[in-house]
Amino acid sequence: MSRPELKASQDAWANYVYLRDNPMGPHEELWYHGFGCGAWLVVTRNTKTHEVLSVKAAKP
């Protein structure tokens, strides 16, 4: 979600494009409601229990 500025370093961009955190526990993810309204959603999910903690639309 935090897309770097154009002037940011290649490292910052590589980190943004390729590297993903993989925490155990609560984690913010982007989900796409593909079979429904087509909304992108910010889902906070516990990666250990798969419990969905909150959902909000990416575009308020």
Partner: protein, 971 residues
Amino acid sequence: MSRLPTGGLIDRGKTCRFRFDGKTYQGYHGDTLASALLANDVRLVGRSFKYHRPRGLFTADSSEPNGLAQIGDDPNVKMTTVELHDGLNAQSQNRWPSLKYDALAVNGLLGPIFSTGFYYKTFMWPASFWEKVYEPLIRRAAGLGRLSGKTDERAYARHFAQCDLLVVGAGPAGLMAALTAARSGAKVILADEDFRLGGSLLSQNIEIDDRPASQWAEHITDELASMSNVTLLPRTAVFGVYDGGIFGALEKQPQTDGYRVWTITARHGVLATGAQERGIVFGGNDRPGVMLASAARTYIRRYAAVPGQKALVFTSTDDGWASARELQNAGVEIAAVIDPRTAVSPDLQLGLDAPIHLGATVENTKSKSAHKILARMRAADGGVQMVPCDTLAVSGGWAPNIGLACHLGSRPIWHDEIHGFVPGDLPKFLSAAGSATGALTTSTVLQAGADTARQILEALGITPKAIDIPPTSQAAHSLAPVWQVKGKAKAFVDMQHDVTASDVRQANREGFQAVEHVKRYTTLGMATDQGRNSNLNGLAILADARKVSMADAGLTSYRPPYVPVPIGAFAGEHRAGKFRPTRYTPSHDWAAARGAVFVDAGQWKRAQYFVKPGETHWRQSVDREALSVRTSVGFCDVSTLGKIDVFGPDAGVFLEKLYINGWQKLAVGKARYGLMLREDGFVMDDGTTSRLRDDFYMMTTTTAQAGRVFQHMKYVHQCLWPDLDVHFVSVTDQWAQLALAGPKSRDVLRQLTSADVSNEALPYMGAIEADILGVPGRIYRLSFSGELAYEVAVPTRYGEALCNAIMDAGATYDICPYGTEALSVLRIEKGHAAGPELNGQTSAFDLGLGRMMSKKKDFIGRKMGERAHLNNPSRPTLVGLKAKSPQALFQSGAHLMPQRADTNAANDLGHVSSAAYSPNLQCHIALGLVEDAENHMGETLRAVDLVRDRETLVEVVSPHFIDPEGERLRV
């Protein structure tokens, strides 16, 4: 016949004639195939997987490891779950030539080579033997059942349901839970895999509420069936528990012989799945006639089928003694009751007219036929006695059915009192009740069902109604764990996969300690029964070998599906032509009537070429169509291209985020080619976008990427630049769009519209809204072919009318419709990249479009696309390829090698991406991607096609075969 004259839950008024291995038998409505076979004295029902040992029925339920039949086209059907019906025709499996005389039984003598891990050890070398020798051999000898190879015509359906409470299992716990919830007004679904609800109550000789247990079950079932808030699902196995309280269930539909998959969303689920009796591992414990004591009781009480005349009962549980009494009551002579416990409650022996041996075990069995067993008993004093019998009823304890409880990753916990695993911490929407949690007597199970339901209802905000727990006649219950009687003879842990106790011990000796590893090495518990009879016994042997406790040895994971589910049942109606939607172009019927041959392009059917009378080869049609466009005029349906209306004050800014080039300054009435990158800098898609009004752009995508690009646009807008004031909508299906191409295209177009389409009014890359055939349409002066060309759009419903009008208007120019083949020939001749070049591995630079990348703005993929190695001339870049000799054929997929070099990966310079025969150049040409293309320009390379075994000399040329200056476009 071994059918009792009275009793059982069978309908003696309805006889069913059925066939097994070609022979005709008779049973009753209410029988299973298994009980009917047993009632007909058929005791040999299958051969084992590895050793082809004779096997009989071991259980009376869905955990059956031995009684597998081929019924119709279905292999591996458990005889114990097949509802008998008139005309049923079943065959035994895994035998050749017949069940009685099996040629492969000699495998038993070859035991050593079939030992643990034999797949890994025996069939290793030489590697060349794999395909020709080992694999066919293994496939013939092993394998459970055979597929028919025919199309599955069975009726499959899918059904979705919601409820407050889903109760899995209709035994005493499930019935009480369902009743409690149903009387409280909750919406209840009660599912049970059996065709008759009642579970263990159907085969227990106890009373509930002063009536036989099976009658009580029927009474409760009737009450539930009468309630509108209850759905009863007999013949329905819940096979999976999924996130958020979603359950998968497979319903067998006897009317159609089909299946229905239920997707049930429940606010809460109760697993009342009961417990499974365990056998004991001892030598020869797999002979026909050896069966679970509870199964023997079930055959007698539920089906009035007597498993034999003389039974030996080997039990370490009180329940085994109850089964012994049941056998005796059915007129079976009890050869002996053998219990490894040195003391049991004296009550157990009441009324039993049989020798009783406490502290004794069965060590081994011998058998000369399926009707005789000679059991070798080791008495408490160490003495040995041979006991003849024809049935050996075994009871080693009870294992709660916890499979479903573990589907979401919950780990089971060890229960010391019942010596088994019970569900651990369950997801919030799931509970377990009754024997599934280790309860042993019917009264506690009934209580647990009611209590569990009450707690759930309260949590769901439904007021529970008080319910009386009916009194039962069942006594208390105790058991001692006996897993294995050690000995030298083959003692089977997993009968379906022929895994023995010594296999498990050997695996441990070879270093396999973790239970998951032992499972895979020995294949223990990996057959169709998923180890329901074998997991716990195997684990006990492993724990013993490792000298650790059962709890420490751990249990293998359970994953869905809990019972085998036909793939077709998941697919439901989504098969053959209904596998996915088929999309038809607006000109489909029109084209079909004019000889079009169609090709699949994703979901679309597109006209590939149009066969005219006299044309016998597709090339004749395609060459004619392509030449017609170059010399006169042709038209092609391009409605499949993705079309997206982009509106709003920020539409231009938004497009500049999506595309590498500029859009804000594009004049109204103009179109522009756009290239889209992924954020990692590689090309995602391309297409033309036209500015029709100040705040309205009409964007097109490739046919293949239309859906993906639309999703990407939503991401860019909603997640990256949500403040942009822009709206967009897919209008692909709203417009019929025809490409009208060729030097005469303007002359044809003039006849369709009142708009001024002169070169001055509508120059190359112009785009206007115009009246076409009297309806509002659009004209874009775009060219994919390289000729003077237009794309004409009208609302979809006028697509066919437009085709007819174009044909009429073009008649004097001998106009013809053309398909995707000619479209492809024309674009290859012109050097336009398409799908095979936009393959996810090419950069803008690779396609010769690097200079399009704007330096003035941020756009998706700019930073990563600017990386030096994506702009390196040594990368494979777009070139043209031309066969050296006119007739020489080469096709896409061929790799390009230098003339004087070996054909290998190191010498590979690139590949042919799109190839065609050019009727204009009169030779085969292609586009390709070639490393360091500049230095190879003009060079002759070998196009090596290893798949088609062909090699062709080709020249590297510019990709612009036709009109490189673009003069034809602008006339």
